[in-house]
């Protein structure tokens, strides 16, 4: 079930243009010539072009004819007229068919696609109109020659979603902590992720500061082509804006499949003596049957397991996302604080996110994932929180297909348990600021006994061997663990 209806969806390439798609059309005239300027088989000069200037009254008569056929004049020059009309109008008036052509999303086009007659399409323009004009040309989207200026303010989308700065803290009951003047000061939170482009105006204009370090094989501290770390780190700052944020970049800009391992990132994070380590990544330990979790931990993950256990024993709070339909390790480790998903609708109704994982581990007997929940959207995409992302990079362009934002605008609506983990990591930072002596186990106990019970919904079917999705219910339940974190309730007991 989708909680929203996107304001505009672009159809797939090759499909008919939506009837109500608005086109930008340029109209040319013959002037004194028998043919128009675009049909001359020679390059025109600034003097020869004038032979195509409309005769007195020619443009006005054509404009009136276009208006009668439903087009709206949007501009007028000496040689051309710009009009706007729908795809349906264009197809009707010019006797043609328009198809969707997807554009290269690695370029900063002003729109992700264009509607245009395909090769071989009919062309039978209105006979009266074609006597008055030379031709009509659908204008292609233009390309910005530098990354479009990114706004610190997110774009409007016409469906319910969360503003990361206002809604995410509010729904986790964080504002009373902020009113006590606790914002995470003095607490070091290390986040291990693809990278962190904190030059985005969301971070700079709100005064959020960070340090970024490189794990082995990672490159360039200032960039984040993967976009994941930049966007999800906003969740940390929304809740604990004054933490000492240490971003550990795993990504290699030159190789999207390379970069550092989580273990290397974790080892790098340890150098900086963090109080909290948060990781929105996992290994999906799924059996070959596709339905169940592995029965034992692969050897290749035992070093990471040992390192996490040692870190927790040394007093570091380690937070991992529970997965989005993944049998996520290390979230499955009993010592780790595993964070799943709860969705809050526009009317305030709470239910388990069907995007987030929930499962009982077969590797760690009796271990149930998640412990608690943060805020996560619903299937199919988890589009729920408006987050800042590097403009023109992966998430910005790919998510724009379904989230109502524009490619290149530096914003995308998404979530996943990738958002929930840093939310709760930041809550942990607030708890540690109040009581630095809290151990990881004490923090987990605090969060679980004060969480808000989630009664409705079910978790992601992909982590249910029955394929249905583990259901929420009264008390600690399979789908949401102890429930949605109540930051202030936990803080009062810290």
């Amino acid at each position: 079930m989708q909680p929203f209806k996107p304001s505009h969806r672009y159809p797939p390439s090759g499909t008919p243009a939506p009837a109500d798609a608005v086109l930008r059309i340029a109209v040319t005239f013959r002037g004194r010539s028998k043919t128009g300027p675009t049909k001359v088989p020679a390059r025109l000069s600034s003097s020869s072009i004038m032979s195509f200037e409309p005769e007195p009254g020619e443009m006005e008569v054509a404009i009136e004819a276009l208006r009668k056929r439903g087009f709206v004049v949007s501009g007028k020059g000496r040689m051309t007229v710009s009009v706007r009309g729908t795809a349906a109008q264009f197809e009707s008036v010019f006797g043609t068919e328009l198809t969707t052509i997807a554009l290269d999303n690695s370029l900063f086009y002003s729109a992700p696609c264009v509607y245009y007659p395909p090769e071989g399409a009919p062309w039978n323009p209105d006979p009266i109109l074609i006597e008055l004009i030379d031709d009509a040309y659908i204008q292609w989207p233009h390309i910005y020659l530098s990354a479009p200026a990114v706004n610190a303010r997110p774009p409007e989308v016409d469906y319910f979603h969360l503003d990361v700065l206002n809604d995410v803290p509010a729904k986790l009951n964080v504002p009373p902590i902020h009113r006590e003047r606790h914002h995470g000061e003095g607490i070091r939170v290390a986040m291990i992720d693809t990278g962190f482009d904190h030059s985005h105006p969301f971070f700079t204009r709100n005064g959020f500061t960070s340090s970024v370090v490189l794990a082995p094989s990672a490159t360039n501290r200032c960039t984040d082509p993967g976009s994941h770390g930049t966007g999800e780190s906003a969740n940390v700052f929304a809740i604990a804006p004054k933490v000492t944020f240490i971003g550990v970049k795993l990504g290699d800009d030159a190789d999207p499949y390379g970069g550092a391992s989580i273990l290397e990132g974790f080892q790098e994070a340890l150098k900086h003596k963090p109080h909290v380590i948060t990781v929105s990544m996992c290994y999906d330990l799924r059996e070959l049957d596709g339905r169940t979790e592995l029965e034992s931990l692969p050897n290749g993950l035992k070093p990471l397991e040992a390192e996490i256990q040692a870190a927790i024993a040394a007093g570091i709070v380690v937070v991992f996302s529970a997965g989005n339909g993944h049998y996520a390790f290390p979230a499955s480790m009993p010592e780790v604080l595993s964070v799943g998903g709860t969705f809050i609708a526009e009317d305030g109704a709470m239910r388990a996110s069907d995007y987030a994982s929930a499962f009982t581990s077969t590797i760690y007997s009796g271990r149930h994932v998640p412990d608690v929940c943060g805020l996560v959207g619903m299937l199919p995409y988890g589009d729920y929180i408006m987050l800042p992302v590097p403009p023109g990079q992966d998430i910005d362009t790919l998510n724009a297909v379904h989230d109502g934002t524009t490619p290149g605008d530096g914003w995308a609506v998404f979530s996943g348990t990738s958002a929930a983990a840093p939310q709760i990591a930041a809550v942990c930072a607030l708890l540690l600021q109040k009581n630095p002596a809290l151990t990881p186990a004490e923090i987990k106990a605090l969060l679980t006994r004060t969480a808000v019970d989630v009664l409705d919904g079910a978790a992601n079917p992909a982590t249910d061997p029955e394929g249905v999705g583990i259901k929420a219910g009264p008390g600690t339940d399979g789908a949401t663990g102890a429930g949605l974190v109540d930051a202030y309730a936990a803080w009062l007991q810290a």
């Binding site: 693809t194 391992s261 290994y283 692969p298």
Partner: protein, 96 residues
């Protein structure tokens, strides 16, 4: 270069590489890239890998599949290292 993960036989109180162990690993063609309390990450060249462990298994962008077995620990390293594996690939948890 191949990324290896070395599980230490003894957990140390503080994260970081023991200089003696680092030197021992270097003599086996391994360059330390990271160290915690319980593990060490190293990189090793293809030729050095083949000499120590035999033929290179199939890797995906330098990372191993989760079901790849552990490598045999060279006798000279067995006192400090209990297991050697090739780093596995992870995934992000925002969408797939």
């Amino acid at each position: 270069m191949i990324k290896l993960q070395l599980l230490l036989r003894h957990i140390s109180a503080d994260p970081g590489i023991d200089p003696a162990l680092e030197a021992l690993l270097a003599r086996h063609g391994m360059t330390v890239t990271g160290a915690g309390r319980a593990s060490v990450s190293v990189q090793i060249g293809d030729a050095e890998f083949a000499q120590l462990f035999g033929p290179m298994p199939h890797l995906d962008a330098g990372f191993a599949a989760l079901d790849m077995p552990a490598l045999a620990v060279p006798e000279a390293l067995a006192g400090a290292i209990s297991q050697i594996t090739i780093a596995p690939h992870h995934r992000a948890t925002h969408n797939d």
